[in-house]
């Protein structure tokens, strides 16, 4: 690869990291406003964040919703992927876009449609938020699980069947272990899609149950405080550590590159 292109690539990597570094830096400012470079160093805005109940509450709600979303969407997506994998090619090609439709429909529409639906059902609460997040997360799980299934050896399931395993045993002992990597990266994506979700949440959230990104969004209308940067840093670090652990352990990237 030619030198100038390599240089450009490194510049672009730096540009991707720059905003992340800036949020971190801005949260350490000693001044009263968000600036970069920070004016002096202090942890006062981290302290401010720790007593900011709305922020902390939003963070807790988001973590809880993301965990529930993960717990629901991984089994649902896994079973769906096994189902799709067992259909013949024509059926599969027809069904995959249908079952992963929330990925191709604009997220604003999904959020708005859920608002219309949940208003009717009286579900504008945490349950509604979890259900909404599950809808947009399941397709990620289906996709990455399908990729690992297509890379695995299908004859193994047949072999287990021939040796007398019942359908449940085949899935539990053969198919699921084979799709482990896909489920882990799909699960990570489902978790992050929920943790960072704002577009669906902003439609369903009601006072009392406001997830973290929506708290940030509503504060952004006024001028942001450095404690927001502190909370953002916390989420970035959490995300980065999760990704690093999983990438290092399970080669997350390969199953995403489809």
């Amino acid at each position: 690869m030619p030198g100038p292109v390599r240089l450009l690539a490194w510049a672009l990597y730096a540009l991707i990291l720059l905003p992340i570094v800036m949020v971190l830096g801005a949260s350490l400012t000693a001044g009263g406003f968000l600036t970069f470079p920070p004016q002096g160093l202090s942890l006062r805005w981290w302290q401010a964040m720790l007593i900011d109940r709305e922020l902390l509450r939003g963070l807790m709600i988001s973590l809880r919703i993301a965990t529930l979303t993960l717990v629901i969407s991984v089994p649902v997506g896994a079973l769906a992927a096994i189902f799709l994998d067992r259909q013949n090619a024509r059926w599969r090609n027809a069904l995959v876009p249908v079952l992963t439709a929330p990925l191709s429909v604009p997220l604003v529409l999904t959020g708005f449609a859920l608002l219309v639906f949940f208003t009717r059902l009286g579900l504008l609460n945490e349950t509604g938020l979890v259900l909404g997040h599950v809808v947009v997360s399941v397709p990620y799980v289906i996709r990455s699980a399908l990729v690992s299934l297509s890379l695995s050896d299908r004859t193994l399931a047949r072999a287990a069947e021939v040796h007398g395993a019942n359908p449940a045993q085949v899935i539990w002992k053969v198919t699921l272990p084979m799709m482990r990597h896909g489920l882990i990266s799909g699960g990570l994506f489902a978790f992050l899609a929920s943790l960072n979700n704002i577009v669906v949440s902003v439609f369903i959230a009601k006072p009392g149950v406001i997830p973290f990104p929506v708290v940030l969004f509503s504060r952004m209308e006024n001028l942001a405080e450095p404690s927001v940067a502190a909370a953002s840093t916390l989420v970035i670090v959490l995300t980065a550590v999760l990704c690093m652990l999983l990438e290092w352990r399970y080669d997350l990237f390969r199953s995403l590159a489809r």
């Binding site: 600036t35 439709a101 960072n196 953002s232 990704c243």
Partner: protein, 288 residues
């Protein structure tokens, strides 16, 4: 017997996902779709007869049409910028040999996808403001003496939108580059092609379709994004998703929002279809 067992095995697999997608996606979508054909009364917020008036309200008004046009242009520019920045990164990732280097560069490239959109926009606000890091740096070097306005402009929105979606063209292009058989470059080299020729005649044509596919993902996502236009555009860059948001949550004009949503979705689909057809025409090697 075997068939029976297979059927039983399969029949337990589909119901959960069908319930989730049927009840919590398809049904809400249909209800929203129906909304678009109900009349809107700003006092009672309801109506029962069916009408096409909601579509006429937006299609007949030059201000709204201009917003549709702006949304399209912003998304198109974003896709082009993300593709331009994505290709060298995908190529670089592909050229890395050491697993360790690949791991770290992969993580960096995935960052815009993984971190919260709101946090990213927020960081970019610090960068792009008149007193932001970018302008301060330029002033310090002495290139400019008056700040370049980037916040509250279309340029700013395009830059940040491209940042938040650049991972998609990178991922698709990287996958394409990895799948090109190395023999092709080798045989071109044996036949006397220079490195530049190999890139222009072999590597680029074979990865272009996937770069375009990634660009179309970026385009579709930007067509539907309101967080970045809201935060970076600061009310000066109105786009259709932002209008949907306002019509829903501030004006309580659900029929209007539904009509806007349907129009936006159709416009996106039409453009994606058009580009895909064009690509099939001009890059026949990709035709499946």
């Amino acid at each position: 017997m075997t068939r029976m067992r297979t059927f039983l095995g399969n029949s337990a697999l589909a119901p959960p996902v069908l319930t989730v997608m049927g009840v919590f996606f398809l049904l809400p979508m249909m209800m929203m779709f129906a909304q678009a054909f109900l009349p809107f009364d700003s006092r009672t917020l309801t109506g029962t007869t069916l009408t096409l008036e909601n579509f006429g309200r937006f299609l007949g008004d030059p201000v709204h049409l201009a917003t549709f046009w702006r949304t399209f242009i912003v998304s198109l520019m974003t896709a082009l910028l993300a593709m331009a920045a994505g290709y060298p990164l995908a190529w670089h990732l592909h050229s890395l040999r050491s697993g360790q280097a690949r791991l770290w560069c992969t993580l960096i490239v995935l960052m815009p996808l993984m971190i919260s959109l709101i946090v990213a926009s927020f960081a970019w606000m610090l960068l792009l403001g008149n007193n932001g890091a970018f302008n301060n740096a330029l002033r310090w070097i002495g290139v400019i003496d008056r700040p370049i306005r980037l916040m509250n402009t279309v340029t700013g929105v395009v830059i940040v939108s491209a940042y938040s979606t650049v991972s998609y063209p990178i991922l698709t292009t990287f996958a394409a580059l990895e799948n090109i058989p190395p023999e092709l470059a080798r045989s071109a080299r044996i036949h006397g092609a220079s490195e530049r020729q190999i890139f222009a005649r072999v590597i680029l044509p074979l990865s272009l379709p996937e770069l375009l596919a990634g660009g179309l993902i970026t385009f579709s996502l930007t067509m539907a994004a309101f967080v970045v236009p809201f935060m970076i555009g600061g009310g000066r860059v109105n786009v259709v998703p932002l209008m949907i948001y306002q019509h829903t949550l501030q004006l309580f004009d659900w029929p209007g929002a539904a009509a806007l949503g349907i129009l936006l979705f159709l416009l996106t689909l039409a453009f994606v279809w058009f580009v895909t057809r064009l690509a099939q025409l001009f890059m026949p090697w990709e035709r499946r």
